[in-house]
């Protein structure tokens, strides 16, 4: 370590005052300290304000193309309509065929009609989708990471053949039932049961807060079986299985959230996922989805920061743009800094995942940090827009409200604190 540090070229922070006056002026204006290499005498160009650390340069052509394509789709197809759906409390179902045609459903799975994107590409797509709306990103996360992934990872070959191609084409929508009215963070103590009866299982219990539940053609449901927690594929229309949507939500309004009810619901034993037993099943799905959320929330944060920055530059009070006031700059700089940090965290998380060296604690740390900071950014952005910030004319309040759900689902902020806490101290503080 010591020797590696020594062998690094002598980087120097320009902006020390030995430079010429003109150089200093430029540095002050640009307000960015550039690291001067011995070979580059000129100052690098001011990076774009939404990518202050030139993360763009660290992406491959392919990764950029995925990002730009999804960004364009969001700009053209999602942003113009999402405010109305949020207000009406409806999910834009008409977009499902388009999302499927783009190849976004189960995009990070390989084969069975899926695109086989790398983890970084998957993350970038989530980032752009959530810059549109957390509800759309949630739909994609649930379909790909929570419903298709368990079938892909733990399903029988017949189950995979039957469901995955249809789900990739958007012809079958899935949901993921883990949370129950009485067990949220403590999902391991779920009450829903699966009793073996000959060649069937009989399910009883209910699931709560289930994204896509009301529109799902199949539910991946986790239940207590005699030999531990098992995953089951339950098709819509199965006698004893019903759903009801949850209304009056003030967050994630452009997303469907439902209850699933199982009342002596009999399903063939072949609909159990044979490849996993215990909490490892649902937890490995959650790892996939949480990974996408760590990236996704940076998209929401970027959208809020961009809007607040533009607004601050054009809103005149006391005869000058409010961007010229120190207090406003402090907020904007805080947002920009946290955005850069979250982006770097996501990218390294993605590189770790692609190299096969990712640890769940890294996902927890990134989910916790990035969602927390995105929520803070949304609130700060809201304040910069003043009264305009509370309307649906701007995306900020929508993102802010959405992020309250993102903060809670897929492991609350607290739970991720405890996961990281346990990992670094060796002490469990859960119960």
């Amino acid at each position: 370590m010591q020797s590696r540090l020594k062998s690094l070229p002598p980087a120097r922070v320009a902006g020390n005052f030995s430079n010429e006056a003109s150089q200093n002026t430029r540095l002050w204006r640009g307000s960015i300290a550039m690291v001067e290499s011995p070979h580059a005498a000129h100052q690098a160009q001011m990076p774009v304000v939404t990518d202050l650390y030139n993360i763009d340069m660290m992406l491959s052509d392919e990764e950029r193309m995925v990002r730009d394509t999804v960004r364009k789709f969001v700009r053209e197809r999602i942003s113009p309509i999402i405010g109305e759906h949020f207000e009406a409390g409806t999910f834009p179902r008409q977009l499902i065929p388009e999302l499927a045609a783009l190849g976004l459903l189960g995009m990070h799975l390989d084969g069975y009609g899926c695109a086989g994107l790398s983890a970084v590409c998957y993350g970038l797509a989530c980032q752009e989708l959530e810059a549109g709306d957390s509800g759309i990103r949630s739909f994609i996360s649930v379909q790909g990471s929570l419903a298709m992934f368990p079938i892909f990872a733990f399903g029988s070959e017949e189950q995979k053949q039957l469901w995955l191609p249809r789900m990739a084409r958007g012809e079958a929508i899935g949901c993921f039932g883990l949370t129950e009215p009485d067990t949220g963070s403590d999902a391991a103590h779920m009450r829903t049961s699966a009793r073996r009866d000959g060649s069937s299982y009989i399910l009883n219990g209910s699931k709560m807060w289930i994204t896509n539940g009301g529109i799902a053609d199949l539910a991946v449901v986790w239940a207590q079986a005699e030999d531990g927690i098992r995953g089951f594929i339950v098709e819509r229309g199965t006698p004893g299985f019903s759903t009801s949507d949850i209304h009056r939500k003030l967050s994630l309004r452009a997303s469907i959230t439902s209850e699933l009810h199982f009342d002596d619901c009999r399903i063939p034993a072949t609909q159990m996922l044979p490849g996993v037993r215990g909490m490892r099943g649902p937890l490995s799905c959650l790892d996939e989805a949480r990974y996408g959320i760590a990236w996704g929330s940076t998209g929401a944060a970027r959208a809020c920061y961009e809007v607040a920055l533009e607004y601050a530059k054009s809103r005149i009070q006391f005869e000058r743009p409010i961007a010229g006031f120190q207090l406003v700059q402090q907020k904007l700089v805080g947002m920009a800094t946290e955005l850069v940090k979250a982006q770097l965290l996501s990218l390294q998380l993605g590189r770790l995942k692609d190299s096969g060296h990712i640890h769940p604690v890294q996902i927890s740390l990134a989910k916790r940090n990035n969602v927390r900071e995105a929520l803070h950014t949304a609130r700060e952005a809201r304040s910069i827009l003043g009264a305009n910030g509370i309307t649906l004319e701007y995306p900020i309040s929508r993102h802010m409200n959405n992020l309250e759900s993102v903060f809670t689902y897929e492991g609350t902020d607290d739970i991720h604190t405890l996961i990281v806490g346990q990992a670094i101290t060796g002490e469990s503080a859960f119960s």
Binding site: D61, E62, R64, M65
Partner: protein, 261 residues
């Protein structure tokens, strides 16, 4: 059938505010994000549609530009073009519309093209002269402002947009066809298309490959020169029609005056 679509990388019109360099009087292309011309995305989409309809055809994207224009050609590949050619050479910097057409025509001649698609104009330079130039250098017909294209044997038939409707015209092949803006919706590259693009062929050609001398093109060979640049006139205030009972009539007349009705 061998189909070609000519494409260009331009400063992203969605993010870049176009700036003109007062010294060179040219568009500033550095320090801005460069993308495949959005107009070309529609043209590529039109070409893909036709390739699939005609069947048994190959569609090749052809671009002239710096090495960085590879990214634009990759996007064309991801959208569904079969292979791509990028003509890149340091001597090409500063080429005008005339030399651009000359270079593209040389490559098309070498490859042998039955059908060549171009956008009516690029989103950055807006000269609109390259497609006509290509047709001239190749000595083939040019069909402009197409909003619908059909191929019948060795004939191309298009619906050509004119101010009050459209004309139906036909020509022999090979031919150059320019697409009327707004006639074809740009398709999105799919995730699978993006993953598959790297497996497709992207060939680079230099001036030497085309047998063109460096002095014929670029700064040295330019026939056009920008003399000066000036600010566009500020837009005049719009006309406000007060409804005193015949506003509908007035609006209709206004639209008619601009041949929009």
């Amino acid at each position: 059938m061998k189909m070609f679509v000519c494409i260009k990388q331009v400063p992203d019109p969605n993010t870049a505010i176009s700036k003109l360099d007062p010294a060179t009087k040219r568009l500033v292309r550095s320090g801005v994000s460069l993308v495949l011309d959005p107009g070309d995305e529609s043209t590529i989409s039109a070409a893909i549609k036709l390739r699939d309809k005609v069947g048994n055809s190959e569609l090749v994207a052809l671009s002239m530009g710096p090495a960085s224009a590879q990214e634009a050609t990759r996007r064309a590949l991801a959208m569904g073009v079969d292979r791509a050619i990028l003509i890149t050479d340091p001597a090409l910097a500063g080429s005008d519309a005339f030399s651009t057409a000359q270079v593209l025509a040389a490559a098309l001649k070498k490859e042998g093209a039955d059908l060549i698609f171009c956008s009516t104009e690029s989103t950055d330079g807006y000269t609109g002269m390259v497609p006509g130039g290509i047709a001239e250098f190749l000595g083939i017909p040019q069909l402009t402002f197409a909003r619908e294209i059909t191929i019948e044997g060795q004939k191309a038939i298009i619906k050509r947009v004119i101010p009050k409707g459209y004309q139906t015209i036909e020509s022999t092949l090979p031919a150059v066809i320019t697409i009327a803006s707004g006639s074809y919706e740009a398709i999105y590259p799919t995730m699978k298309g993006i993953m598959g693009a790297k497996k497709k062929t992207l060939t680079q050609m230099s001036l030497a490959d085309l047998g063109i001398a460096a002095t014929q093109v670029g700064e040295a060979g330019a026939h056009e020169r920008v003399l000066s640049i000036g600010k566009a006139e500020a837009r005049a205030a719009g006309q406000i029609i007060k409804d005193d009972g015949n506003a509908a009539q007035q609006i209709a007349e206004f639209l008619q005056r601009y041949q929009l009705l």
